[in-house]
Symmetry: C2
Subunit: 327 residues, 2 copies
């Protein structure tokens, strides 16, 4: 019997979920739920489109609803609301607000006898797992997260708001010398701006003052001022041709010691190189949906994170197969 998935919200992430479901034969996409006019939305694989308002009529047709909205305004409201009717999965990624989000979703899901998994994806998500396993095993040590090379949408948007900028793309790039020190087990103290540099590809309007634009970028507080920032002016054609993707990735490194006097160093590194940030995130959410479905079948309700999920629950393979082939 196939696990029936609803997709709530249909941007890059929603499309990624739709495609990921096709790569998981034990799942079926029931349809997309949108706040737009359903007639105006065409899905990638031809699955039906429903109005978001109609979701509540379909509680018997959906085993898990995957929420594909944004963390700023959508998910804080949508996840608790939908957890009152569905098993749900989301990718809530405002790290500082995760405890509050978990609490809100817990209350709704527990009351309804539903199972929710929040903050799935890769950071939070797979990176969080790497951090947890790393600290649990190497209790004396330091932990580092590097992001990139990847596109930061927030930073790209910030550049686009500057006068005279037609379009822009910003890549966050780990500083290789810092990364190497960490990999060597040197345990340096590093602030975020000592771990990353920022590379900007900017299309300026005809006649715009490029020197001013570059200065405004490089001095922008929080976004760029503290970082080594490089600005390249390119044509709109080049931007579209070479910088249209949304790659991302990064490394979580745990460096620690063992022995009589900490004389043995150990370095654990978890790294991701992703051509499509949204599609990889979607692939994680789909695996989480499987786990949520199984936990709910077993009566394990409430709000979970990847920290609470026995890894085997994420896989379509049977326990016997896992033991024989992957352990």
């Amino acid at each position: 019997m196939s696990i029936r998935i609803g997709i709530y919200g249909y941007g890059n992430l929603g499309r990624g979920v739709e495609r990921a479901i096709r790569q998981n034969p034990d799942m079926t996409a029931v349809g997309v739920f949108t706040r737009r006019d359903p007639q105006s939305v065409k899905t990638c694989t031809g699955i039906p489109v429903f109005s978001a308002d109609d979701a509540e009529k379909m509680t018997n047709e959906i085993d898990v609803m995957i929420l594909c909205g944004g963390s700023a305004t959508d998910l804080p409201k949508q996840t608790p609301a939908l957890a009152a009717r569905f098993n749900v999965v989301d990718s809530f990624d405002t790290h500082a607000k995760i405890p509050e989000h978990v609490q809100n979703v817990q209350a709704a899901a527990e009351k309804a006898g539903k199972t929710a998994l929040v903050s799935g994806g890769w950071d939070p998500g797979m990176f969080s797992l790497a951090r947890l396993y790393g600290t649990a095993v190497l209790t004396e040590g330091k932990e580092y997260t590097f992001w990139g090379k990847g596109v930061s949408q927030g930073h790209s948007d910030a550049i686009r708001r500057i006068e005279g900028v037609v379009d822009a793309k910003q890549y966050t790039i780990p500083i290789q010398s810092a990364l190497q020190k960490v990999r060597n087990g040197e345990n340096p103290d590093l602030k975020t701006d000592e771990k990353h540099e920022r590379e900007c590809y900017v299309v300026a309007a005809e006649g715009a003052d490029k020197a001013r634009i570059e200065r405004e970028i490089k001095t922008m507080p929080n976004y760029f001022a503290d970082y080594k920032t490089t600005v390249h002016f390119i044509t709109l054609e080049e931007l579209r041709e070479k910088h249209s993707g949304l790659p991302h990735g990064g490394e979580v490194i745990r460096s620690g010691v063992t022995g009589e006097n900490g004389e043995h160093k150990h370095v654990i590194e978890y790294s991701l190189k992703l051509d499509s940030n949204a599609e990889f995130t979607a692939s994680v959410l789909v695996a989480c949906a499987r786990a949520v479905y199984r936990m709910n079948q077993e009566g394990n309700v409430g709000c979970k994170t990847l920290f609470d999920i026995p890894p085997a629950y994420l896989s379509a393979k049977s326990r016997d197969e896992l033991l024989a082939t992957l352990l």
Copy 2:
């Protein structure tokens, strides 16, 4: 309240467990259990030594017994036997026999209401987790395990058995060009001997025929014949000085695709660089003991592997702390 740990078997791994417990303030080492004369064993941190035969009298004083024997002959018997009286953790690493071992331990632990975790460590163990998470998330893809650079005890022993060899150390080394192809997402087909080469440091007896020794190493079936093998003859002093450690490590790489037609590549890499194979393995086992203790407290009995353990159970941190700091 501290989790009280017994250490059953006292070689490199047992000593590693003893030291790892000192790095985990929520645990106490009750003592070492040995089949040797307890009087003849001196522990690193001064914890008591008991006869293995006396373990059964101490069931009320030990929350989890960590078994530190070998997979060939010790653990197949010891783990089921001790699981009938204790919560247990082992590092059984004969991959092909894991399903059988799980079955034997399951029967004993379930009957006794005890919780067991088998095949903890890094391979099987942390590498198995990397394989499972990787395949669960990227369902269309290929998976690779590279080992090294690290000392293979089995291969070192095989060299030592050759006539005229005084001592030897063998390093397994990933072939960088193969590793690079995998990291690039090229998904090559690679046999074990296409992924690894073997480097041997050999001390020959005075007057021994080095050419013959080198030939015997390089043509040894299973161990070396299929591999690119390099032999260095060195002095005993140099061997002791430069090759006395037992470092190891390796990489698990999952390379997969997503998108409409698999147009987006993704590479997940989990890598370990370990100064001390035994001490890192021990650190994993100690984290597993915490999880086993908690699961048993909750009435979750039987034989588990890391695939069955919610990651949070491995950490000494509270759930609130985990959500706030690591997710």
